[in-house]
C-alpha cells in the first residue's frame, strides 16, 4: 500500500438526531482516483463533507494528509481543494474572474502565483474566449468544466469531487474525465463520489461502496470485482448491497 492521504476510522456522524454515517472506515492512497459509490441518500456527500472538516462528527477519527480533521483544517485547506455536487460559479463574474478569485485565495493574495494558476485553469477548462464572458451565460457543462478547472488549477495534493460529472452531457463528461486523469499525472490524488457506476469505472483506480451510511466494500477496482466474482463494478455493487 502507498502513502495514505485520507484515513477514516470508525466514523459516526449524525445530522440532528438522525444517524447518517455508521462506523465508517476508509483509506485513500496517494496517486489514486478513489471513488465513493452509492445510491442517492447513501451518505456520500456527508462523508466527503466530514472528511473536509465542514461537518463535525460524533465519534471516530479523520486524518487528511496526516492532519487531524477538523482540528487542523486550516493547514489542510491550503493543500486540498473541493468541488461540491451542486456548486455554481459566481454568475456575475466572468469565467476568468472566477478562476482568479480562487487563485488569489490559494496563492495567499500573491498576484504572480495566482496568474500562473489561472493560466493552468484556462487550459484545463478549455472554454476558449467564453472564459472572458460572465458565467451566467454558460451552459451546465461549461460551468462544470470551469469549476473542475478551478478545483484543480492550484495543483492540490488532494481534490475532493462530489459527483463531478452530474448533470452534464456525454461529451462534457468525457472531457471532465480527461481533466481528472491529467491532474493525477500531475500528482493530485482524487477522492470523488458518484452514483453512475459504469461511468466511474472508466477512471477510478479504487472504490468504496456505501449504502445506508455504511461502507459495504472497499479496495482497488480489480480487487473489488474479483472479490465478488463479477465482470464490472455495477454487478459488484448490486451484490455488495444484496440487491441480487
Amino acid at each position: 500500500m502507498g502513502e495514505i492521504i485520507v484515513e477514516v476510522r470508525n466514523l459516526t456522524k449524525k445530522i440532528g438526531k438522525k444517524p447518517i454515517l455508521h462506523n465508517i472506515n476508509l483509506t485513500v492512497e496517494r496517486g489514486s482516483i478513489h471513488a465513493v459509490l452509492g445510491p442517492n441518500g447513501a451518505g456520500k456527500t456527508t462523508l466527503l463533507r466530514t472528511i473536509l472538516g465542514i461537518y463535525s462528527y460524533e465519534s471516530g477519527k479523520v486524518m487528511v494528509l496526516g492532519y487531524k480533521m477538523p482540528e487542523q483544517r486550516s493547514i489542510v485547506n491550503k493543500l486540498i481543494s473541493y468541488l461540491p455536487e451542486d456548486a455554481q460559479p459566481y454568475e456575475r463574474l466572468t469565467g476568468y474572474e472566477n478562476l482568479f478569485y480562487y487563485a488569489l485565495i490559494y496563492s495567499g493574495g500573491i498576484r504572480e502565483t495566482a496568474e500562473k494558476m489561472v493560466e493552468l485553469g484556462i487550459k484545463l477548462s478549455n472554454l476558449g474566449d467564453a472564459i472572458y464572458e460572465k458565467t451566467g451565460t454558460y451552459s451546465k457543462g461549461m460551468k462544470r468544466r470551469l469549476l473542475l478547472a478551478r478545483t484543480l488549477m492550484c495543483k492540490p495534493k488532494l481534490a475532493v469531487l462530489d459527483e463531478p460529472t452530474s448533470g452534464v452531457d456525454v461529451v462534457s463528461s468525457h472531457k471532465l474525465r480527461q481533466i481528472l486523469k491529467e491532474a493525477v499525472k500531475n500528482g493530485t490524488t482524487i477522492l470523488l463520489s458518484g452514483h453512475n457506476i459504469l461511468e466511474i469505472e472508466n477512471i477510478a483506480t479504487h472504490v468504496s461502496f456505501i449504502n445506508n451510511g455504511t461502507i459495504v466494500a472497499e479496495g482497488s477496482t480489480e480487487q473489488v470485482k474479483r472479490s465478488f466474482s463479477v465482470a464490472n463494478l455495477e454487478e459488484a455493487f448490486l451484490k455488495a448491497v444484496g440487491a441480487t
Binding site: G53, I54, S81, L83, P84, Q88, Y102, L104, G109
Partner: protein, 406 residues
C-alpha cells in the same frame, strides 16, 4: 490591508456592483423616485380644481355686501396658496357637484348687526377631498379675520355708547404671547439655530434610509451565496473565517454607503420639495450627519451579520431583516416626534439598549451644543459594531452554512 481581505473585498464589490437590478431598486428608486413623487404630488395638487360656491341665502343687502367682501378676500387668499379653483357666488343652495360651500343663511345680517347676536356661517366640505379641506381651511381663516374686524367695530361702538376711551386691541388681547427658544445652558437660541434644530429632526428621521440598505447587502453576502450554491467550495479554501466575514462586512458597508447616500439625497430632495418651512444646514451639522451615517451603516451591517450567518435561508434572513427594519423605522420615526432624552428613565433605557438609537443621540446632542455627549454616543455606536462583528465571527459554523434545513 491584509492581502486576502483585499481579495474578498475585490470579489464582493464586483459581485454587488454588477447586480444592476438590486442597485437600481435600492439606489435609483429612492434617489429619483422620491423627488419624482414630490413633484408629481405637487403637480397633482396644483392641477386639482376645487369647485367653490359662496351661497348667500339671506337676501339682505348687508349680508350680500359682507359676502361680497368675503368673496374678494377669499379669492386673494386662494391665489396666494396657488390653488386651482372655480368660485361662484350664488343663492342656489344645491350642493351637488360642489366641493366647498360657504353658506350665509337667512338672518345672517340681523344677527351680525346686533350687539348680542351671533351670525352663523356654514362651511361645508365634500367628504374625502384633501384639496377641499385646504380650501375650507382658507375660508375659515378669511372669516376669522373678518370676524376680528367686526369685534373691533363692536368694541368701538360700545365704548362710544359708554362714553369711555378704549383701545380695542388691548381690550381684546390682555395677554400678548411672544415665542422664543433657548439652549440647555439657558442662552437664547437664534432663529437660525431653531431652523437647524428643526432640520436636525428631519435628519434623524432620514437616518432610517441610511440604515436600511446595508442590512440587505450583508444578508445577501452569506445567505445569497448559500442559495446560489457558491459558498460550500469557498469554505474548503484556506481563507480564514474572520477574513471572509470582514471582507463581506466591509463590502456590504461600502456598497451600503453608496446606496445610503443616494437614498439620503433622495429623501432630502423630497423634504426640500415638500417641507414648506425650508431646511437650514450648517457645515458642522452636515459633517456630524456624514460621520453618523458612516457609523450607522457599519453598525447595521454588523448587526445583520449574525442573522446573515445563522438565519439558514434567504427567506428566514429577510424575515429577520424586516424586523430589524421595523425597529429602525420605529426609532427614527419616534425621533421625529419625541425627544428621546426627555423620556422616563425606563423608556430611555429601553431605547438606548437598541444600538440604532445612538445615531439619533449623536445628532441630538450636537444640536444642543453638547459635543462630549455626542462623541460618547459615537463611541457607543463603534463599540456595538465591534461587538456584533465579534459575535458574528464566532457564530460562523460551516455545517450550518452549507446545510439546508427547516
Amino acid at each position: 490591508m491584509p492581502s486576502l481581505l483585499r481579495v474578498v473585498l475585490w470579489k464582493e464589490i464586483i459581485d454587488l456592483l454588477r447586480d444592476r437590478r438590486t442597485l437600481v431598486a435600492t439606489l435609483f428608486m429612492p434617489l429619483v423616485g422620491l423627488p419624482l413623487l414630490a413633484l408629481i404630488t405637487g403637480a397633482a395638487v396644483s392641477q386639482e380644481t376645487i369647485v367653490i360656491h359662496v351661497i348667500v341665502e339671506d337676501p339682505n343687502n348687508e349680508t350680500i355686501s359682507f359676502a361680497d367682501s368675503f368673496y374678494q378676500q377669499y379669492i386673494d387668499e386662494l391665489n396666494k396658496y396657488s390653488l386651482s379653483y372655480t368660485i361662484v357666488m350664488t343663492n342656489d343652495s344645491n350642493l351637488s357637484g360642489v366641493q366647498v360651500a360657504i353658506i350665509f343663511p337667512v338672518g345672517f345680517s340681523q344677527n351680525m348687526t346686533r350687539l348680542d347676536g351671533t351670525a352663523r356661517v356654514y362651511v361645508s366640505v365634500l367628504l374625502g377631498s384633501p384639496a377641499a379641506e385646504r380650501a375650507a381651511q382658507i375660508a375659515r381663516m378669511v372669516l376669522s379675520s373678518m370676524e376680528y374686524q367686526m369685534i373691533i367695530q363692536r368694541v368701538e361702538n360700545l365704548s362710544s355708547i359708554a362714553g369711555i376711551q378704549v383701545d380695542p386691541y388691548s381690550l381684546l388681547n390682555p395677554i400678548a404671547i411672544y415665542s422664543a427658544s433657548h439652549k440647555p445652558g439657558g442662552q437664547a437660541a437664534t432663529s437660525k439655530e431653531v431652523g437647524v434644530a428643526s432640520s436636525a429632526r428631519l435628519l434623524e428621521f432620514a437616518l432610517f434610509f441610511v440604515a436600511n440598505p446595508a442590512i440587505f447587502y450583508m444578508i445577501d453576502s452569506f445567505m445569497g451565496e448559500k442559495e446560489r450554491r457558491t459558498i460550500e467550495s469557498l469554505l474548503a479554501t484556506p481563507i480564514p473565517r474572520r477574513t471572509l466575514v470582514a471582507g463581506k462586512l466591509l463590502s456590504s458597508v461600502i456598497v451600503g454607503l453608496i446606496v445610503a447616500f443616494g437614498d439620503f439625497a433622495g429623501v432630502m430632495i423630497y423634504f426640500y420639495l415638500t417641507y414648506s418651512a425650508g431646511l437650514v444646514f450648517t457645515p458642522g451639522l452636515v459633517i456630524v450627519h456624514v460621520v453618523t451615517s458612516l457609523l450607522l451603516v457599519i453598525l447595521t451591517a454588523s448587526m445583520a451579520l449574525p442573522i446573515a450567518i445563522r438565519a439558514g435561508s434567504v427567506r428566514a434572513a429577510q424575515g429577520m431583516a424586516l424586523v430589524m427594519t421595523l425597529i429602525a423605522m420605529s426609532i427614527y420615526f419616534t425621533a421625529l416626534v419625541v425627544d428621546i432624552t426627555s423620556l422616563s428613565l425606563t423608556s430611555r433605557a429601553i431605547f438606548e439598549s437598541i444600538p440604532l438609537t445612538h445615531a439619533v443621540l449623536v445628532i441630538h446632542y450636537y444640536i444642543l451644543g453638547e459635543t462630549m455627549r455626542s462623541l460618547l454616543h459615537i463611541l457607543v455606536m463603534g463599540a456595538f459594531a465591534v461587538a456584533f462583528y465579534i459575535i458574528g465571527t464566532a457564530l460562523v459554523n460551516d455545517e450550518k452554512l452549507v446545510m439546508f434545513r427547516d
